[in-house]
Amino acid sequence: MRMFFVLSRLAWRYLWRNHRRTIVMLSAIAVGTWAMIFMTALTRGMVDQMIVDGISVIPGHVQIHDPEYLDDPSVNNRVAFSDTEIAARFSDAGFTAWASRVRVPAVVTSERESRGVTLLGIDPAAEKSFSFVDYDNVDGRFLEGPDDKGIVLGAKLAETLETRVGKRVVLMSQDPDNEIADRGFRVVGLFHAEMEATEESYTFVGKHTAQNMLRIGDTVTEVVFLGDDYRDVEPVYNKVVGLVDDSVRVSRWTEVDTYLGTMMGMMDGFMLIWVIVIFLALSFGLVNTLVMAVFERIREIGLMLALGMKPSSILGQILIESMMLLAVGLVIGDFLAWATIKPLESGIDISVVAKGMEMFGAASVLYPNLDINDVILSNVVVMILGFFASLSPAWRASRYEPVEAITKV
C-alpha cells in the first residue's frame, strides 16, 4: 500500500511532465469514451423502446398457450382448461397483473373493404395496466367489459375500411369445426398506437362476445402474465410453470417474439463489440504513449533501479501511470456523454426515417437511455483491456539493466 502511494505520486507527476502528449491522449480517450456511451445510449434507448412497445403488443412477459398455438395460431389450439379454472388457479397467486384472452386471426369487412386482422377477445379491466392501448385516448370509447357487444379498431384500419365510430363492420373467423364464424359489430372506439402497423393489425372485442361468436364456450387461447421487469422474467416464469401441467406450454416473451428476444441479446453483444473496437483503436495510441514515456526516462528508470527500487515497482509505476491516464480520460468522456445525452432525453425526432425505423420495429422518436450498467461496463472493459495493453511497455521498462539504462543518453 505504501509502495502504491509512492508509485502513484511518481506516475501522476510523470503524466504531466509531457503535458501536450497527455492532453492529446486524454482527448482521444475522452472522445472514444463519449462515442462508446453516446452510441450505446441511443441504441439502448431504441432497443428498449422497441422491446417495451413489442411486449405491450404481445403482451405480458410470460404466456400460456396450447403447445401447438405459437406455430398454428388457430381457434382449435386453445388452452386445455376452462377460463373458470384459469381464474381459480391464477387469481390469488399474487401476480402483478394477468389476463386471459382469445386471440385468433380474423377478417374484418366494412361496406367498402376487407382486411386481415388479429382478433383479441379481452376483459378490458384485467389488462388495463399493461395494454398498449391507452383506454382514455380512444376516439369514442374503449370496451367496457367482457360482455361488451362493440368493437374497437385501430384508427388507421378504420381509415382504410372507410368506417368510423357508430358504423357497423363484420368480423369473420372460423369456429373449431372450421365453419365460418361471423358476427356484426358496432364500432365503438378507435385506438391510437405508436406504429401504424399496430393500428392496422389489432381489433378488440369483449372476451365473452368473442367466445360466443367463435363457439368456444368457456375457453381461451392464451393467458398472459406481467412481471416486474421484462429483463428478468424468470420469477414469473417459474411461478407460472409451478401452477400448470404439461397440457399447456409456458413461454417467455423472448420465445413468443424471437425477433425482439434476439434484439435484446444482440444489443448487449453490439455494445461490447463497439466498446472493444473503440478500445482497440485507442490502444495503439495508448501503447505508443507509454513507449514514448518509458523511452524518454530510461535513465531515470535506471537510477531508480540503482537506488534499490525493484523491477516490479517500475512495472507497477508504468501500469499506474497508464491506469491514471485511462481513468482521467474515462471520467472526462463519461461526463461529456452525460452532458450530451441529458438534453436529448426528452426525445430525438427521427420521423424523416419513420418508415425505415418501422422496418426495425422502432418508433420515430428516439429516447436515449443512459443506463448506468452500460457506463460501468464500458469503463471497466476499457480499464481491464488497458491494463493488458500496458503490460508490454511496462514489462520492458522493468527489464532494463540499471547500468545500461543509466549510461544511456
Binding site: N18, R21, R112, I180, T262, W274, I278
Partner: protein, 409 residues
C-alpha cells in the same frame, strides 16, 4: 531518391516502434472500414434486390391514392391491354399486370385472411422471382384456370398441399360478396416471412372474374434492366400514359419508403461509428507527430540557424506524415481486401442474425460487396484526416526560435 524524401523516410524510422504503432492504428481502422463498408453495401444491395425483385418491381402504375390505401375500387382500368401496350412500346418483357384483393382463404380445417394477387402467368416471372421459387408443384399456367399458388407458411397453417382445394371469400370491386373454389397447384418459398405467410397468386383472368373487376386491375409492375436505369425508364413510362386516366407511376422508393429510410437510418449510425474511428486515428497521428517534432526541437534549431525556413521544416513533417499515412493506406486497404474477400467467398453471419435481418428481407448469411469504392473510400478518408492531424505539429514550427531551440535538450 530525392534527398528530402530520403531524409523524411529515415526520420520516420528513428522510432520504428512508434511509427509502426501509429501505422497499426491506421491499418486497424482501415481494415474495419473496408470490411464494414463492403458488408453494408452488400446488405443494402441485397435488401433492395430482394425487396424489389420479390414483388414490387422498380416502378408500378397505379390509380392515385392506391399506394397508401389499397382500396379495391382504386383500379387501373383495362389493365391487361395497358400492360401489353407498354411491353410493345418499351420493347421489353419486363412488364406485368396485377390485381390485388383481400380475402378469407378456407381449407378443410383452417381459415386465414390473406392477400390474393391476380397475375399474368406468362409475364409474372419477368418482374417477380416468386414464380421461380416454387418449392412444390408448379406455377400458374393458364390465364383463366381456377388455380392458385400459395406461400409455404400459409400452406402449413391451412394444412393443405398441392392438389387440395381452397375456398376464397371476399368482396368484389363493387362491395358485393365474392367467392370461389380454386385448386392449389403450387407452393412457393420466398424466404421472406411476410410473403410466405400472407400471399397467394392466381391468374389475373380468374381474379377479374371472381372479384367482378370488369377487366380492371390494381397495378402494372415494371422492372428496369437494373436499378440505375429505373429513373430514366420511369420518365419514359410517365410520358406514355394516357393523360385522361389520371394514373400515376411510383418509383421503388415511393413503393417501399421503409427501404430507403431503413438504409438511411442504418447509414447514419454507421457513419457516426466510422467518423469516431477516423477521429481516433487522427489523434494517434497527432500525438506521434507532435512527439516527433518536440523531440527534434534541438535539431530543428540547428538547421534553422543554418538558414532553413520553418515552412520547409513544416513540409518535411507533412511529408513524413504522408509517407506514414500512405503505408497505412496501402496496408489497410490490403488487409481490408483480404479480410473482405474471405467473407465474399464464405459469407458473413453471426448467431441471431437470421432473426434480425428477416425484417429487411435478408437471408441469414450475407456476402460483402467489394468494389474499388468500398476498398478505398475509408482508407482515403483516414489518409486525409492523418494529414489534417499533422498540420498542428507542422505549424508549431513557425513559433520555434533557433537559439532557444538549440538550448533545449
Amino acid at each position: 531518391m530525392n534527398i528530402v524524401l530520403r531524409l523524411a523516410w529515415r526520420n520516420l524510422w528513428r522510432h520504428a516502434r512508434r511509427t509502426w504503432l501509429t501505422i497499426g492504428a491506421m491499418v486497424f481502422s482501415n481494415t474495419l472500414l473496408v470490411f464494414m463498408i463492403s458488408l453494408q453495401f452488400g446488405m443494402y444491395g441485397l435488401m433492395i434486390d430482394n425487396t424489389l425483385q420479390v414483388f414490387s418491381g422498380h416502378m408500378q402504375i397505379q390509380a392515385p391514392g392506391y399506394k397508401d390505401d389499397q382500396k379495391m375500387r382504386q383500379v387501373v382500368p383495362k389493365v391487361r391491354p395497358l400492360a401489353a401496350h407498354l411491353r410493345q412500346e418499351l420493347g421489353t418483357d419486363l412488364v406485368s399486370a396485377r390485381g390485388w384483393a383481400f380475402g378469407l382463404a378456407s381449407s378443410e380445417e383452417r381459415s386465414y385472411g390473406i392477400g390474393i394477387y391476380g397475375v399474368e402467368p406468362e409475364f409474372e416471372a419477368r418482374v417477380s422471382n416468386i414464380p421461380g421459387l416454387i418449392a412444390q408443384g408448379r406455377y400458374l399456367e393458364k390465364e383463366d384456370a381456377s388455380e392458385i399458388v400459395i406461400g409455404e407458411t400459409l400452406a402449413r397453417n391451412l394444412r393443405i398441399g398441392v392438389g387440395d382445394e381452397l375456398t376464397l371469400l371476399g368482396s368484389g370491386v363493387d362491395g358485393s360478396f365474392a367467392a370461389a373454389v380454386v385448386n392449389v397447384v403450387g407452393i412457393f418459398n420466398s424466404g421472406v416471412r411476410e410473403i410466405d405467410r400472407n400471399i397467394a397468386e392466381m391468374p389475373l383472368g380468374t381474379f377479374q372474374e371472381v372479384f367482378y373487376m370488369n377487366g380492371a386491375g390494381h397495378q402494372v409492375v415494371i422492372l428496369a434492366p437494373d436499378l440505375d436505369q429505373a429513373q430514366a425508364l420511369q420518365q419514359r413510362v410517365e410520358a406514355m400514359l394516357p393523360a385522361d386516366d389520371g394514373l400515376v407511376v411510383h418509383g421503388w422508393d415511393a413503393l417501399q419508403p421503409g427501404l430507403r429510410q431503413a438504409i438511411q437510418a442504418d447509414m447514419s449510425s454507421a457513419f457516426f461509428m466510422y467518423g469516431i474511428l477516423v477521429i481516433l486515428v487522427a489523434f494517434s497521428v497527432l500525438n506521434t507527430q507532435l512527439m516527433s517534432v518536440l523531440e527534434r526541437t534541438h535539431e530543428f534549431g540547428i538547421v534553422m540557424a543554418l538558414g532553413l525556413r520553418p515552412g520547409r521544416l513544416g513540409r518535411l513533417v507533412m511529408l513524413e506524415t504522408a509517407m506514414m499515412g500512405f503505408i497505412g493506406l496501402l496496408l489497410g486497404a490490403l488487409c481490408g481486401a483480404l479480410f473482405t474477400t474471405w467473407f465474399t467467398v464464405n459469407g458473413f453471419s453471426y448467431p441471431g442474425m437470421e432473426e434480425m435481418v428477416a425484417n429487411f428481407n435478408l437471408p441469414g448469411r450475407v456476402y460483402p460487396r467489394a468494389t474499388l469504392l468500398t476498398m478505398f473510400a475509408g482508407p482515403l478518408v483516414v489518409f486525409v484526416f492523418t494529414l489534417a492531424a499533422a498540420t498542428y505539429p507542422a505549424l508549431r514550427l513557425h513559433r520555434l526560435h533557433p537559439v532557444e531551440a538549440m538550448r533545449t535538450n
